[in-house]
């Protein structure tokens, strides 16, 4: 840009692709995803664009691809520099379905880039709100370890650990939750302990919302979006199989895994209903959990490809549903009761904005600080896209993958006065 001499540019969407592909980048001016947005408009000969998120498989390192754009020829390389496919409009259309079909007639490579950009980085809009953004991007490529929760309804912790040791399974307890285990094993679902219901395979952060909800034996709890039942059964475990948990799940297809998990884990206090959560008819309940359907961006480490499906539009679509669910949950709670709202996404549209919209101006609700000892959380944001949100939202918690080496999560705790 500045010296006018370096006419080759390399855009790298996460710092690690360059190192991983072993491309000598000293000859290039490098742009990382951060400043790629500020890319000079008059440069036409961009040589290499590196993607790391797209097409990433489940291999240990993820599968990077590299798109080389040189004049009018575009080539796609995979990790070992083998040509995956030379370009056609196909790639562009894969990356951006709205790109024009007559891509070859485009004169400026920059235009191609323009077509690519929307899918390059849907996480990029969180640059301002995520602390240490570079580490945040880098960790998206690392697969998440398996984790499980010990089901104390069926077995004591000590006895289970003994059994696992006997079977030669490597494990490590979470430092913040004694019943959580990191498992170092290929397919934990096939463990005999899992089939007998002594453990339940559950993502680490998915154990947070029930802890924030804090159900006590004998209470009545509503889980508005229950399937596949990880949080439901954790609630039931915390209640020692006493009291009542209503697990609501509108989708018939998702009832089967919910039932199967409840039965396998020996849960006796869960009743399953099939209402639309926005119109769940009867209450009141002592506590309500809304683990809302979301764009699941925080699951990227577990199931790569989630990010390519998420977009602001999708978040805004989901927002309508989420506000409806949370409003109904607030209605169904007893005075003095607790509502926990959680998602596994970073999008403020699905998190803080939902909480703000559902609470409205009502005086009867207040947010309580979400804090799990041993787990580092970031405060909920109070400003987004130039819009001021209510200050109280900083009591809610955002969990980022690079801070605790987990997935991503958002949890809000609302108390009805």
């Amino acid at each position: 840009m500045a010296d006018g001499k370096a006419s080759h540019y390399l855009i790298d969407l996460d710092l690690y692709s360059v190192a991983y592909l072993g491309i000598g980048h000293e000859n290039y001016k490098t742009f990382h995803s951060g400043n790629a947005v500020a890319f000079p408009g008059n440069v036409l000969n961009i040589d290499i664009v590196l993607f790391s998120d797209l097409y990433r498989g489940r291999s240990a390192h993820g599968r990077s691809i590299c798109i080389v754009i040189c004049q009018n020829i575009i080539t796609v390389l995979c990790e070992d520099h083998k040509i995956l496919f030379a370009i056609s409009s196909l790639v562009i259309r894969l990356l951006n379905p709205f790109a024009p079909r007559s891509i070859c007639s485009c004169k400026a490579n920059l235009f191609l880039l323009g077509c690519l950009f929307p899918y390059m980085d849907c996480l990029d809009r969180y640059r301002e709100i995520v602390p240490d953004y570079v580490a945040f991007r880098a960790i998206q490529c690392q697969p998440l370890y398996s984790s499980a929760r010990i089901n104390t309804l069926k077995i004591k912790k000590e006895k289970l650990l003994e059994r696992l040791e006997e079977e030669g399974v490597l494990f490590q307890s979470f430092h913040w939750y004694p019943l959580g285990l990191k498992l170092d094993i290929e397919s934990p679902g096939k463990l005999r302990e899992n089939l007998l219901g002594y453990i339940h395979i559950q993502e680490e952060l998915s154990m947070v919302p029930p802890l924030v909800l804090g159900p006590r034996p004998g209470e009545s709890i509503l889980d508005l979006c229950a399937s596949p039942g990880s949080k439901t059964t954790q609630i039931s475990q915390m209640m020692e199989n006493r009291g009542l948990v209503i697990a609501n799940e509108p989708s018939l297809a998702r009832i089967a895994p919910l039932r199967s998990n409840c039965e396998r884990l020996g849960v006796l206090n869960v009743a399953v209903t099939r209402y639309d959560g926005r119109n769940f008819p009867r209450g009141p309940f002592d506590r309500v959990l809304v683990d809302a359907p979301c764009s699941s961006e925080g699951r990227e480490r577990r199931g790569p490809g989630v990010l390519s499906r998420s977009s602001t539009d999708r978040s805004l679509d989901l927002q309508v549903l989420q506000i409806g669910l949370l409003k109904n949950a607030l209605r169904l709670t007893k005075p003095g009761g607790i509502v926990v709202y959680s998602t596994c996404t970073y999008a403020p549209e699905e998190n803080e904005l939902v909480v703000q919209a559902a609470l409205g101006d009502a005086e009867e609700f207040r947010l309580e600080k979400v804090c799990i000892p041993g787990l580092l959380e970031c405060p909920g944001i109070t400003q987004w896209n130039g819009r001021e949100l209510r200050d109280e939202l900083s009591c809610t918690a955002r969990y980022y993958p690079h801070i605790n080496d987990t997935g991503g999560f958002y949890v809000a705790k609302i108390i009805k006065n």
Binding site: L196, S220, R259, S260, E263, L268, V272, R282
Partner: protein, 161 residues
């Protein structure tokens, strides 16, 4: 026949605890105290158990755990129910050794020696209840639900054709 609405289909009828307890006492020698804090319901030909609470008036898909199936005669306890209540069993139980337990968990049938009565039995391995088995004429047939079976790694070796 047109599919009926779930509002009509999902009718749970309360059952008397002593009725259920008597059946379990008769077959497995499980005392009624094992079911303390439970309520029972019947829907179609299944019997369900849930913790003793007042259920709000809703349309339910399931209530607690399905513990018995009365589709066939005699009634069959579910594996999930036996994993909870089975440890109180005093009769009609079988203890397996490691190899037998593996076959059982994989869903296989095997010859075992036992003095059980013919019918459904509680299967134990090292003090844990594995689940429900069907014992008849020297054969123990695993009744573990398909999705909860262990997948056999050495099946081809174990069952020579």
């Amino acid at each position: 026949m047109s599919p009926r609405s779930s509002r009509i289909r999902n009718v749970f009828e309360p059952l008397d605890k002593s009725l259920i307890a008597e059946l379990w006492q008769y077959r497995f020698g499980i005392p009624e105290q094992a079911f303390a804090g439970c309520k029972f319901f019947r829907k179609a030909r299944s019997i369900w158990a849930i913790s003793d609470v007042d259920l709000p008036h809703l349309s339910y898909e399931t209530i607690g755990m399905r513990i018995m199936s009365c589709k066939d005669r005699p009634w069959k306890p579910t594996t999930s129910a036996l994993q909870i209540f089975g440890r109180y069993a005093a009769k009609n139980l079988i203890h397996l050794n490691r190899e037998e337990a593996m076959i059982f968990l994989e869903g296989g049938s095997q010859v075992v020696e036992t003095d059980c009565e013919i019918g459904y039995v509680v299967v134990f391995y090292r003090g844990d209840v594995l689940g429900c088995g069907l014992y008849s004429y020297g054969m123990l047939v695993s009744q573990i639900p398909k999705e909860r079976r262990m997948t056999s790694t050495a099946k081809s070796e174990a069952c020579p054709v």
